[in-house]
Symmetry: C2
Subunit: 458 residues, 2 copies
């Protein structure tokens, strides 16, 4: 009889592992969302990392993987608001909505709301502004992602335990009808410890109470542009664990938000660094999960694909030179700033004056040496020069043309292709490790993530 | 005690379902390979089918899905020979090799070889030529995929029970050093029933012995160009089941080989029809699996992505009009033939004479009606005209320019983008149903497919 009992217990344990409908509560739940991160972004960063540092992404080694469809209620191609709402709340909505249904009438309950109700502490971390679409979907209930100030109000009233990352955009939007004070002041009044720099951040500890930690003006800097002292997503993640750990457990959402931004810009090299940086934040959670394997679930997903990134390019056929992306030394935004600065310094900027900036930023070489893989061919030089000239003629209208031309030529050398500056409908993959991880398998929908996590954090 | 025994038996059954290392033998093993079929191809065809016929692909509904990496031994971007060898034999090799190792010295054992040794019957079906890279990887052992005649010899000497699909290319390659007779004659001498048309095909039955069924000159026609009486991949699959079924079971490989061809051409509409056609062949196996669920394993995979297909396009932003692909009435090959025929008929072909052919083939309208989604804009008309003129000037050199321009404009209207005429390194997905299906989950490598199937067919 005792044996039979043992057998039944074992059976029960096994059935948990089976990925059955039954999802058990988990003390510690982590959700990582790479904005604009789909399979091409994960695969290219893996190969880039293998070639440049002889290692691969931690997220790609997680034992459970599920292909995840992303469509919104209204479109095959979702935006981040509808995708964030699907992942956070488990319901499809119209592009643009935050935590509300398609009609914009019904407020939805997010996994963060459920976790808070359960007694867990809740943290929301992002590399972009804290009231951007993805993080906002976890605490906000608004008809439009554009209602930044109102989402700031929602952030305070949600009363979660830890917010960390970029600033709150339009926090002091005095012209807004809903204005009742600067969001930072309102947060302080509501009992939050509000910090704005590394010194303040470093002082935060388990006795700081509720925390709103702002890491930068705007979003956190791109990893490729990071300067000493800049706070990183991995630090915000580690701080989250420090602040949130308690006997009732926690839910922590961490967004790598700028992968998307540079996919919109078709800047592959900056994307690679953002991906690696995001993976470092994930590694912090994986190390925690290793300590508490029975009590932790780590889920990594993307909200949609951005850019139509492909791991092949017409000009390079079956060859791949993705390691050449390491030649780029700054984001395309910084390159653009450098060129604009030239125009500010000197009214008569010539193409010859811009060439060294192109070389310094992208490693592109204006040389006759045909063996140099970074050589700018004559047709390419013509393309760059024409883009420069149209920029020189009308900076306002054609300001981005030189950046786009340089990126196109640079990406091509690294065998990377893009088809759009918007999102695509390619599914993403969702990875999981820890308790209930096996339920993330096969082909799932982004709404399933919220449904499963709500079960786990109930 | 009896209860304990029941419990243990149940436990054992459960553990099988767990996707553990242990794979049990399966009587009937099906392997479907979509050449050039990765996640974008599967996702776009699903959406296309939903919009045009209000149904979705059977293969996407299969319960188990695994993201599958495809790199070859030498390249991040594989070709079909190395990918076919990986899927068939479970070992990475150099692009170009068929069933041999990277050095081209060691012959590899394929799942088909293993299945034959086990006493199962073996069938190899493809929509392209029977000695093309993918089918050849299951019976051939050659240093280069280009050795068509030699692969034809391997096909006969492998002695599998059923070969069906396109012709054997260079079957009568009298100039080849290895020439010892027409492959068809050699097959007949070796005891094969060789058929070359529908009449012969329809007479085949379980008493026909070993069968070599040729369905067309070259490859089977594209689904979009199919004429009454043309044999289909689904028919070749059903015939396979009819011929191979026996008490010891069988292994049947079916390739949808022309998805790849039209991805190379960036012809999205023809790809959609090939995908749907391939799915119909899969449905034949799924119906069989429903009858013998305990004895059947059906696996569907792709060998690599082709074309850098993306589900979004710069010109259409977040909107998708993939249903417009239904406006295309013939493959781009047939369109090209129509234009060439015009040139043959008339020395002085004008662009105005070509316009109706463009309209008839792609549904593109030369109209001022701005509300017409198929309207050719003036810049697009200029692009078509320039392509036509360069073709008219030098048909040999610029023959494909008009096709490419028409496809680019047409695909753009349907919100589909491509980045290359070659393959890309995007992973594919592998789907499975039936016995051992759960072992296809998470992130696997294409070599894992052969390893698992060899276990299942041992």
């Amino acid at each position: 009889m005792k044996k039979l009992l043992h057998c039944i217990v074992f059976l029960f344990a096994l059935s948990l592992g089976l990925g059955a409908a039954e999802i058990q509560p988990v003390k510690y739940v982590f959700l990582f969302i790479g904005d604009g991160m789909s399979i091409p972004q994960r695969m290219s960063a893996d190969e880039y990392l293998a070639r440049t540092e002889n290692r691969t992404l931690q997220m790609n080694k997680m034992p459970c993987q599920a292909i995840t469809t992303t469509r919104s209620a209204t479109e095959f191609i979702t935006d981040s608001a509808a995708a964030g709402t699907a992942i956070a709340c488990g319901e499809k909505t119209k592009n643009g909505r935050i935590g509300m249904d398609t009609d914009g009438k019904r407020k939805l309950e997010s996994i963060a709301d459920v976790a808070k109700k359960s007694g867990r502490k809740v943290g929301i971390v992002t590399s972009v502004t804290l009231n951007h679409a993805t993080p906002a979907a976890f605490y906000g209930k608004r008809q439009s992602r554009g209602m930044s100030y109102e989402l700031g109000l929602d952030l305070v009233s949600a009363g979660f335990d830890y917010y960390g990352g970029g600033e709150i955009s339009r926090h002091d939007d005095t012209k807004n009808k809903a204005y009742i004070g600067d969001i930072y002041d309102l947060a302080a009044k509501a009992g939050y410890t509000v910090t704005h720099d590394r010194a303040g951040f470093e002082k935060l500890n388990a006795s700081s109470g509720k925390v709103l930690a702002i890491g930068a003006k705007g979003a956190l800097p791109y990893a490729i542009d990071r300067k000493e002292g800049d706070l990183t997503l991995a630090e915000f993640t580690a701080k989250g664990i420090e602040l949130l750990d308690n006997p009732k457990g926690f839910f922590l959402m961490v967004e790598g938000g700028k992968i998307d931004w540079m996919c919109h810009a078709n800047d592959a090299a900056t994307v690679m660094q953002e991906m690696i940086d995001f993976d470092q934040a994930i590694s912090v959670a994986l190390a925690f999960a290793e300590k508490y394997p029975e009590d932790t679930l780590v889920v990594v997903t993307g909200d949609h694909e951005t850019g139509g990134l492909t791991l092949g390019f017409a000009g390079t056929g079956y060859k791949t030179h993705i390691e050449l992306l390491a030649k780029q030394t700054c984001s395309s935004d910084v390159f653009h700033d450098k060129v604009k600065a030239l125009f500010k310094q000197n009214e008569k900027v010539t193409f010859d004056m811009v060439k060294p900036v192109i070389t310094e930023s992208f490693g592109l070489q204006f040389t006759d040496d045909r063996k140099n893989p970074m050589r700018v061919k004559s047709a390419e030089e013509k393309e760059l020069q024409e883009a420069f000239e149209s920029m020189a003629q009308d900076q306002k209208k054609n300001g981005k043309k030189l950046v786009l031309a340089a990126l196109k030529i640079f990406n091509g050398k690294a065998s990377v292709g893009w088809t759009t500056g918007a999102h695509t409908a390619l599914p993403v993959n969702t990875s999981a490790i820890g308790k209930n991880a096996r339920t993330f398998s096969g082909m799932i929908d982004n709404t399933d993530i919220a449904k499963k996590l709500k079960e786990a954090a109930r």
